[in-house]
Structure formats: structure tokens, C-alpha cells
Amino acid sequence: MEQTYFHAIDLINDKCKGCMHCVRTCPTEALRIRNGRVHLDDKRCVDCGKCIAVCPFGAIVASSDPLSIRNDYKFKVAIITAPYAGQFTEDIEYSTTIKSLYHLGFDRVIEESMATNIMTKMKRHYIANNKDKKPILSSNCPAVIRLIQVRFPSLLPNIFHVEAPMSVLSMYYREKYSAIEGLDPSEIGVFVAVPCIAQVAAVHQPQGAYKRNLDGAIAIRDVYNAVRNDLADIRNLDYDFITHENGLSRALSGQEADEVGNDQIRTIAVSGIENVIDILQKVEDHILDQYDYIVLRSCTSGCVGGILNVENPFIARSRIQALIRASKHHDHELDPMFSSYLNGEFDVLPLEPRSIMQLDTDMKQAIIKMKKLNEIKEQLPSIDCGACGAPNCQALAEDIVQGKACIDDCVILLKKNKNKKSD
């Protein structure tokens, strides 16, 4: 049976005008316009969310779990990813935005930033012990993981093969609270407030994980809205907790590379999916072998650039940097968990390739297809007008070879041939 892929993207057919904005933007050429409407190739899509950002008609929308999903569970735990901290104006204290979540009915609020320290330690250990696989590629961004699966499967062994911090946090706190509260682990709902649809997809269909650790992915913008509506009531409420601003660096691609890097570990920080693709090509060509760790983020500036955020990524970045500068370091109860990592408790399965690169599984057929592809390309006008519904002439040629389109889809050729006939 063909594997199905979960995507956090909804196509609203009635709203699509077939304008090609999304088709041209998609970094994996997963979108086509057919019969005036947008179509998504499930296998190619990596949930980067770029199509959602460029659609002028609201025909491509992000899907995430509603805030109300928490009501299905007896004990509700919210994990807040780092970009959340950059969404609020500076007159609202970070601790207030966390406090609001308790007021919204969550029984515990866990900051993803709590795990930054221990993750940095794990990464350094992993890098030192996997010199044969260098450069190690960061695994935080699910869109990048999927991009590597579809376009750079040869680099799968280079990925930092350890559970994502939100999964580590979920495992730890689900066990802890089920013991404290005397509840079955299934009665505890663990939700994560996410900045992007790739994280939504990762929660619903994690790659390489042994089991699903999280019960829902709620958009940061939905949490933001609820919190903003609630602020007036909660300023004076008393809750006892400490915040972990110093770990918020996770939201910023450059900052993470700086934290992991040292005299022994050379790092590069890359953000923006086009830049990521360029760097992965260079890694594949083995011209970046001198680097130890490469932090890759699909969104500009890192997770603050995610489509489910509210604030402009550069403003959010500046706010988070201010919070980090003003923060104090706290040792965290997670820090001793390094031994769990060493015991392999956070290991993930090797990631499966889902290559879109191979023209055919049989080399002979692949060669025939490539020759045919080159012939068709010769015929096509090479102006990449997009009127056929494919992003460029190369993609149309490929669609034709794979039996998904025909040469008459090219309106330029069609017109040329028609003129010839009438001459």
C-alpha cells in the first residue's frame, strides 16, 4: 500500500483562481494548477508553509488543533515553544504570558526553553561521537527533515538522531504527572503551541519516532489571541513558577549555532528554505566536510519566522534577544536526564527516504525517461510562463514523462502549431 502523508494544509477549492503564486513558490514543486484549481502532491510536500504565505485569495490555509482540544483530557499540559515569547509587546511581561496559560485552564505549562541546556549538551556529545558522519545536521525543523527525505536522502544519516525537545519534555512530564496525580497516562493531554505547520505535521505524523508523544498542536496565534483576551483578568493572579528565558535561543537559528559551537565544533546557521537547499547541495557535494554542525531552519530567521506566529520575525527576534540578555541561568530538573540520553531513551528510528528525485526505480527505465525528458525540454519554449499549471518548463517535461501531463498543456507550443497549420 502506498504510504499516506499527513499535511497541515487545507486547500479551499472554491477560493482558488489558479493564479500560480503558490506553484512558483513551492521549493519542492509539489503544487500544480489543473483545470484552474490547485493540486498538492502529497509525497513532495514538506509542510514549509510558503504557499500559505503567498496565496492572495485565502485558498491555501494552515490547519492546526483548536484550543478546545484540551477539554478532552483530565489533566492538561501545555508545552510552549520558544517563538511564543517574541509575540507580545514589551509592556506585557513574559511571565504574565505564561501565567495566562494557567488561567486558560492548563494545569501545567512547560517551556520548551527548559530543555535547551540539556539538548545543547546532547548535541555536543553526539557531534563528538559521530565524527564519521560530519557535518551533523540539526533536526529541530520538521520541514527540513522532510526536505532531506524527499530531495537529499543521501544525507539522512547526517541528521542528529535524537527525539525533539518537545517529545522529550512530553515523555518526561506525562510520566511525572501521571504518578503525582494518580492518573492513567492517557488521561493526561500534552499539547504544544507551535509556530508553523511543519510542527503541526510533526506532532500528527512524527518521522522516525517510536510513538506519538503529543496529543495536539495548537497554533501560537490562537494561543496569543486567547491570552490577549484574558490579560486584564490575570495580571494580579498569583502563580508560583520560574521562567527560562535563557533557553529561548532555540527560536533563533544563529543563536543555537553559537551555543553549540566552540573551539572543537565548527557550526553554520542557515535559515530560509532556499538557503537550506543550497547548503544541503553543498553538503552533498562534500565541500562542507570541514564543518561539524549545521543548524538548518526552513523559515527566515528561524522559528520566529513560522507562519502560525503573529509578530514579524525580526521584531520577535529582537524581543527574544532582549529576554535572553536579561535572563539568569537556572539549573533545571531536566539537566540530570543526560544519562537517559546516553542510555538511548531518546533515540529515534533511522529516517526513511521518500525520494522524489529518482525518475524510475529501474535504472534502464530512468535513463529512457531522462532522454525523453531532455527531448521534450528541447521542444518547450523555456520561458517558464506557468500557463500549463507547472512551475516551469522542466517540471512540465517531467510531468509529461511521468504520464501526469501532456505536451498540449503547453499553450505556447499549441499556439505555434496552430499557426503552422493555418499557414
Binding site: P153, S154, D285, M357, Q358, L359, T361, D362, A366, I367
Partner: protein
Amino acid sequence: MAVYCNISEDAQQKYEHFTKEKPDPEMSIEYKVGHKDFVNSGKASSEIKLMLKRLGVNPEILRKVAVASYEAEINVTAHSLGGDIICDIYLDCVHIKFIDNGPGIKNLEKALEPGWSTADDLVREMGFGAGLGLPNIKKNADVMHIESAENQSTILQIIIFY
């Protein structure tokens, strides 16, 4: 005319078979390499790798092709007056020829020693010229064949079996 040929142990049989059968290539693609054009150098080898990837060649072989052809392309850029790359694709191997426009290798034996380099200042400034080019190609290619003489073209051929 000096000639050097190295055939890796594992590839002996395959190579014998290949020279006996003399099959026609399934596909043949040509690239130009400009004299000291460091801006574009590496593009041909990147394209060759991408094409083989599209044909389903496995990652370990792709790695060998990428490293060997990149080194060879840089050699043409850095040490010659420019030249051509001809990539012939077969069902079981890829055969890449690097034919430059001179000036030839003075001492081929020396050129094959790791660390030996005749690179000029510009080349070194670009971060190349460590003298590891040819040894690295030898390490990654199943068959490596060079013929060269002073003031003549150098022809480097590599074959990598899938």
C-alpha cells in the same frame, strides 16, 4: 608522453568486462571549464551528481562521483588553460573525461604524491592547491587514467562503477 593508470582491486573484473564489451554510452553530456573561472568551477560535477541521483545511483557511489569529479574539475580550473568535461553514462558505470588545453603536467609521478603542488598564488588564495587533488581522485575512482606531457593537453579519465 607520460601515462599513469590505476585500477582499484574491486573493479578489476568489471573493468576487464567493460573494455571487452565496449558498450555504447546510454547518454553523453559535455561541459566547458573556463581558465581560472573559480566562480563557476564545481558546477559541472554538481550537475553530473544530480543527474546520477535522478537515475537512482546509490548515495555511496554518488559520494565517490561527487568528490572525484569535483577535484578533477577544480584541477582543470586551477592548473590548466581551461578545457572540456565529457560525461558518458552507462548502465553499470559512469566514465568522465577531463580534457584540458594544456600546459600539461611536467612531472606526473610527483603530481601524484600527496602534498605536492604547483599551484600559483591565486589558486592558493582561493583555498585550493594543497596537493591533494590527484590522490583524492585516485582514492575515489575505480579506474583513473592520466596522460600528459609538458606543453600538451592533459587527459584525465575516471570510471566509477555503481
